[in-house]
Symmetry: C2
Subunit: 501 residues, 2 copies
Amino acid sequence: MTAYRQLETHYQEISVIDEAASILNWDYAVMLPNGASENRAEHLALLAKLSHERRQDARVGDWLAEAEGKLDAADEEEAFWQRANLREIERSYRQATAIPADLVEAKSKAMTRCETRWRQARADADFSSVLPELTEVWNLTRQEAEILSEASGLSLYDALLDLYEPDGRAADIDALFEDYSAFLPDFLEAVLSKQSAQGAFQAPSGPFSIQDQRALGERVMGVLGFNFENGRLDVSTHPFCGGTPADVRMTTRYDEADFTSALMGVIHETGHGLYEQGLPLTWRKQPVGKARGMVMHESQSLFMEMQVGRSPAFLSYLRPMLTEAFGGSGEAWSLENLKRLYSKVERSLIRVEADEVTYPAHVILRYRLERAVLAGDLALADLPGAWNQGMQEALGVQPPHDGLGCLQDIHWYMGAIGYFPTYSLGAMAAAQLAEAARAAVPDFDDLLAQGDLAPVLEWLRRAVHGKASSLSTQDILREATGKPLCAAAFKAHLQSRYLGG
Amino acid sequence: MTAYRQLETHYQEISVIDEAASILNWDYAVMLPNGASENRAEHLALLAKLSHERRQDARVGDWLAEAEGKLDAADEEEAFWQRANLREIERSYRQATAIPADLVEAKSKAMTRCETRWRQARADADFSSVLPELTEVWNLTRQEAEILSEASGLSLYDALLDLYEPDGRAADIDALFEDYSAFLPDFLEAVLSKQSAQGAFQAPSGPFSIQDQRALGERVMGVLGFNFENGRLDVSTHPFCGGTPADVRMTTRYDEADFTSALMGVIHETGHGLYEQGLPLTWRKQPVGKARGMVMHESQSLFMEMQVGRSPAFLSYLRPMLTEAFGGSGEAWSLENLKRLYSKVERSLIRVEADEVTYPAHVILRYRLERAVLAGDLALADLPGAWNQGMQEALGVQPPHDGLGCLQDIHWYMGAIGYFPTYSLGAMAAAQLAEAARAAVPDFDDLLAQGDLAPVLEWLRRAVHGKASSLSTQDILREATGKPLCAAAFKAHLQSRYLGG
C-alpha cells in the first residue's frame, strides 16, 4: 500500500470511531435513562481516547512525509481531493500531537468541574462562585493556545479559532464586525420605529399538540429536501443536529403553547442536516470529506432559517400548511401577521432568543471580551462589569443580574474560546450565498412560494455541500459568490426584510 | 501493577467497547433509518474487531500465567471473585485465540450470505434454494467446533454449546430431554382433553391503543421491580433485551387488536432486564460479573413470564389493571377467562408461538437434529424430511411447507448450533428456582396476588443475579435449590398449572 493509502485506511478507522461516538452522543441527549450518564461517559471517553491515539500516531507523520508529492490518483480530480485530504490530515495531526496528554486530561477535568459549578452559578446568578473554576479553565485554554500558536505560527486567538473554523483569522473578523457595528445603531432604531408604528403581531392561540407539531415539522423537513432514509427527527432539551452523514440525527423541543419556535428550530437544524447529507459520498470517511467548519455549517442552518424559512415567499407557502395542521383561522393566521411574528426585532438580553438583527451584537460583545481576556487586557473578575457595559453600549439594555448576563452561555465555561464569532460569520455567509443563489436560480422567490426547494438545494449541493473541506471557507465563498466573506449581503438582506416593502 | 490488575484493566476496556456496541445494536433495531444499515454495520464491525483484538492479545496469556496463584485481594470474598474472574478470562482467551482470523471472517461472510438467502427461502418455502449457503455455514461451524474441541478437550457439540452455555454438557441435556420426552405425550393428551372440555377462552375485544399498552407495560415492569433510572422500553420488530446493566434497553411490539402477547412479552423481557440490573456493581466490567449464560438468562425471563406473569395469583393482581387500562368489562375480562387465555395449550407448528407445555418438544427436535447433523448421521439435504417426521412424532402435526418447518428459525442459518437447548433448560431452571423461592419466601402466592414482588426479587438477587458468573450454572442452582438442574420441578409446575385445580 502506498503511504497515501495507509493514511486513508487509518483515517477511515478514525471516522468510524468518531461516528460511533456521535450516535452515542445523540443517544445521550435523546434516550439516556437518568441513572446511566456515568456509564455512557465511560463509552464516550474510551472512544475519544481510541480516536485521539490514532490521530497522534507517529506513523501518520511518517506517512505524511512519504506521501508528500506522491499521490495515488487516477485523474486530476482525484489528485485535487487527495492533496486537499493531505492538507486536512496534516492539520489534524498537528493539532493532535501538539497538546500533551496531561494538558488534555487536566482541561477535561477542569471543564467538568467548571460546567457543574456554572450550572449552579447561573441558577444563583452568582458569578463569583464559578470564578475560580473559570480561571482554571481559561488558564489551561491559554496554555493550549500557546502550544498551538507555537506549532502553527498563528496568534493565540487565531490558534483557538482554527479549532472551530479552519483558516479563520481575527483580522478578517475585526473588519466584518466593525462594519456591522457601525451599521447597527441607526438601522436598529429605524426598524424598531417601523415595527412600533405597525403594532404588535398576534400570537396564534394553542394548544398545539406535540403530535401535530412533529408531523408538521417532518412535512416541512421533507419540503426542504431532508432525506428520511438517512436521518430522523427526535426530541432533546437542547436542539442539535448530530449523527453521521448517512444517519443524520436532528432534534428539537416542543412547546404546546407556541408552535412557532419549534417549527423554525426544525428548519434551522434541517439546514445543518442537509449539509451533512450532501457531503460527497466517496470522501465522507476522510478529513477532506467532512463539513468545512462552524462558519459554513451555521451558514447552512441560517440559509434555511433566515433566507428561506422566514422569507415572505416561504411563509406564504407555509401558511396553509399551518392552518391545516392546527385548524387555525382568523387574523392571527394571516400572512401579514406571520411575517411580523417571524421578523420581530427587539433589544434583548439573551443571545439564543435574539432576532437576526441584534444577534450579531451579542456575538460581537462576546468576541471582544474573549479577545481582551486572552490578550491579558481584561481580568476574568471584571467580566460581569465589562459585559454589562458592553450590552448597554451595543443594545441599550442592562442585565438585572449575571444569570441573564455573562453566565448565560456555556461556551467559556467549557473552554470554548474562539467559537462565538462563527455564529455571525455564518449569518453573513448565509446572506451572501442566498444573494448568489437568487442570481443563479431563476424565480428563486416563486420557487420558495411554491415550496419547490429542489433547484435551491441543487445549487447548495454544488456550491457548498459537495465541496466539503476540499477548499477553505473563503475559497468556497469566492467560487460560489465571486467574493470573500463580507457583510454587504447580510446588511442588504436586513434592509430589504426589515425596512423594505 | 500486578498481573491480575493488568487483566482487570484490560477487560474493563473490552467491556466498555462491548457495551458501546450493545447500545449501537439496540439503536440498529429500534431507531435506524432505512438507508443507514451499511453505515451502522461499519461501526459494529470495527467495535467487534477492537474487542476481538484485545481478547486475543498475547499479553493476556502472559498475565494469566503470571497471575496464577497470585491474586491481589483484600479478603477471602474478593479472592473468591478474583479466582472466578481468572477462570472466566481464561475461557474467553482460549475461545478468542483458538479460532484463526480467516475462519472468523469466512464464517461472518458466509453467515451474511446465508441469512439473506434464508429470508427469501423462508418466504418462498424453498429449502433447496438455501441449502448451498447453509452447507457452507455448517462446514465452517464444524471447523470451528473441531478447533474448539481440540483446545478444550470437549466433544464437538459441547465445544459449541460452551459458547452459549459455559460448562453445559450434552450428556446432561440428553437426560433432561429424555425425561421430558417420556412425560409429554400422556400429559399433553390429558391437558388437551381438559381444555377441550372447558371450552375456548374469549378474546377481549380491542382495539387497544399502543399508548395504553405501553403505559400498562411500563406499569407492570415497575411492579416487577424494573428500575427505569437504569433502563427503558421501546419498540422493535423482534423483541429483545439489550443495552448494558446500567442502561437496560428492552423492546416489545404492539398489536392493536390483541394486547395479550405484548403484555406477556414485556414481562418476559423484564425478567432478562432484572437479571442485568441485578449484576454486582463492582464486577460488571469483568468477565466474572456478566450474566452466567443463556440458560440462566432464559431462566430469569421465564421465571417472570411463566412462574410469575401467567400464574393465577399474579393474573388476579393484573386483572383490575387491565380493565382499568382498557376499560374492559364482562366475561372476557374475568379472571377465569384470563387464566384460560394465558394457559392455552395446543399442538402447533411454530416454536416462538408455542405454549410452555409443547415448547420443549420444538426444542428437543432441533437439538436432536443439530446433533445428528454435527455427528454426520444426518445430511443437511435430508433435514426437511427429518424435521417433518420429528414434528409428527413429537406433536402429531406436519408443516404444510418448509417455511413453517425447518426454515422457521434463523439460528442454524446464522451458524448458531448448540443454542436451542438453552431455551428449555431455562424453562426447567425457572421452575426449579420458583420452587425454591416458594419455599424460601413466605406467602409467595399471596405476594404475587398483591403485586408485591419485592421479596421475590430480593431472593432472585441473592440466589442468581448477584452471583453473576462467579459460579457455574449448575452450582448456582445447587446453592439456590439444593440440586443440580432437573426436570422434576418443571413437570410438577405443569401438572399443577394445567391439570391441578
